[in-house]
């Protein structure tokens, strides 16, 4: 029975040293002089603007990828088409690809001398939006696909036999089955969109007060030796992450936690 405790404390010790301790320490360090300095640091015009940019990026990327995610999941599960295997692999690609490579690809395509260059996409908000959409693309698809597989087509076929149109079948039969999976995918997409750093860093040009998202602002503050500003804005992002975590735990299919 000793073995059981060894395994437990090995697992918990690893998690504590790697995750809990560093995060707890950053919170303590940010608030050790009270709320005042931290609040002042995150309400400077540049910080507020950075938060706004981050929210705009997320507000565009999440709905776009949610609609795409449902359509793509339906395509993968319910329809046989040539190139389905490739389609599947390309959907997964943003999960495995370095964000710096994503940023560079957009820079080359839309930058000076690129195939679609010269429309003010790079070093501006549209490029940052495209980068955010790219990196947060797979999550809704990946969550909805297994559920669609699981429920099968019998109910949809029954609805169709009873005279339901395609749209009626979707809203009355398919959507109620996949909505929690979609919601979980949306939470993951949001977390990824809010936290994107590498791709946005390459395409944005990092102009403070213009094209700086909150993650870029954290780096900017740290490199300008403004530790209070860096830690305070990191804590803002961490608080959003913790909120996301709570939503994830609430929405996650129950069988994963016994």
């Amino acid at each position: 029975m000793i073995g059981k405790y060894v395994v437990r404390f090995a697992a918990l010790g690893y998690l504590a040293a790697l995750l809990a301790a560093p995060l707890g320490y950053v919170f303590w360090r940010t608030f050790r002089h009270g709320l005042g300095p931290a609040w002042a640091a995150v309400t400077t015009p540049d910080a507020v603007h950075a938060l706004k940019v981050t929210l705009i990026l997320t507000a565009i990327a999440v709905p776009a990828n949610t609609i795409f995610g449902i359509l793509a999941a339906l395509s993968i599960v319910r329809y046989r088409f040539p190139g389905a295997g490739l389609f599947n692999a390309v959907v997964d690609l943003p999960l495995a690809l370095s964000p710096v490579v994503v940023g560079l690809a957009l820079l080359i395509l839309y930058g000076r001398g690129g195939w679609l260059g010269g429309h003010g996409v790079v070093f501006a908000l549209p490029g940052m939006v495209l980068a955010t959409i790219f990196v947060s693309l797979p999550f809704v698809v990946r969550e909805v696909v297994p559920v669609l597989r699981e429920i099968g087509t019998e109910q949809e076929q029954a609805a169709a036999t009873l005279g339901a149109s395609t749209i009626q079948t979707f809203t009355r039969v398919t959507w109620p089955a996949i909505r929690w999976a979609t919601a979980y995918g949306v939470v993951l997409t949001t977390a990824r969109a809010l936290g994107e750093f590498g791709a946005v860093s390459v395409v944005s040009g990092r102009l403070a007060g213009k094209t700086e998202s909150l993650t870029l602002y954290v780096q900017d503050r740290y490199q300008s030796f403004d530790e209070v500003g860096a830690y305070a804005s990191a804590v803002v992002l961490a608080l959003i992450a913790v909120t996301t975590l709570i939503l994830m735990t609430t929405l996650k299919p129950k069988e994963e936690t016994r």
Partner: protein
């Protein structure tokens, strides 16, 4: 595949054009968002001699080496954590289970900053690993932590304890039971999680950029190298190195696909 589709027409596919519309729209979206930029990247990759430069080779070697170590550590640590979450009972287990997802939710730059605070030059613990290869290892272990846990956990949950009881009743010790009964069952899940963690580690940027110090030939990973090439205006060389990373990512994804098919080979 086309022949099978013709032999088994689904009633929905015959009845309405809507599925075709879904395929068309999502393919278009995927092409514009993902494929077009990557095509442009591959097209404009030139200066292949840049990849052969000592600095590029050294950063690629370092990245692959550290990612390999990260994959191995995750194989063990991820399995142990998944085991603790499924088979153990203790107060606060739900909290620990939620905590495992933290690296998925936390922005990578924040992850790097938090590690730097506790294990950097101003550390209250006296442990300073900043600007060393250890720092890269720790940062990558942080961001890849959930992969193996989250692929092994559901398999472990599904696994019937009857087989283990049978093994135990036949006189197998705890280690023998784990090695001969449990491990073969969870191995495909471990491998698929490890591959995901490896792919993620190879491309990681945000968590490494602050803590590694980015010293060429010492602590510069390949993402940071590419970023440096972009900053110094050598987009062609950066693109060439990117194509190498792209090829590695795609190869790993294909390997995971093969792993998944291996796992579900009895289901079909």
């Amino acid at each position: 595949m086309a022949a099978r589709a013709a032999a088994l027409p689904s009633p929905r596919a015959r009845r309405s054009p809507a599925p075709g519309l879904a395929v068309g729209l999502s393919t278009l979206y995927l092409s514009v968002i993902v494929l077009l930029p990557l095509a442009a990247l591959s097209w404009h990759a030139h200066g292949w001699e840049a990849i052969a430069s000592a600095q590029a080779v050294s950063s690629l070697k370092l990245t692959l080496g550290v990612s390999m170590v990260v994959a191995l550590v995750n194989a063990v640590a991820g399995t142990v954590i998944a085991w603790t979450l499924v088979r153990d009972r203790f107060v606060g287990q739900g909290f620990v289970n939620a905590l495992v997802d933290l690296p998925f939710a936390l922005p990578t730059i924040v992850a790097g900053l938090t590690l730097l605070a506790l294990y950097g030059p101003k550390s209250p613990t006296g442990v300073n690993i900043a600007f060393t290869r250890w720092a890269i290892l720790v940062a990558l272990l942080f961001v890849t932590l959930p992969f193996v846990v989250r692929t092994v956990q559901p398999v472990l949950l599904e696994l019937d304890t009857e087989m283990e009881d049978a093994a135990a009743s036949l006189g197998a010790g705890r280690l023998a039971t784990f090695r001969r009964v449990i491990l073969p069952n969870i191995l495909p899940a471990i491998l698929s999680g490890v591959a995901l963690a490896f792919a993620r580690a190879v491309g990681e940027f945000g968590s490494v950029v602050l803590i590694s110090g980015n010293l060429p030939f010492k602590t510069e990973v390949v993402s940071v190298y590419v970023f440096g090439r972009i900053e110094s205006g050598d987009a062609g060389g950066a693109a060439a190195a990117s194509v190498v990373i792209l090829a590695i990512s795609f190869a790993v994804l294909l390997a995971i696909g093969g792993c998944r098919r291996w796992v579900t080979r009895h289901d079909r």
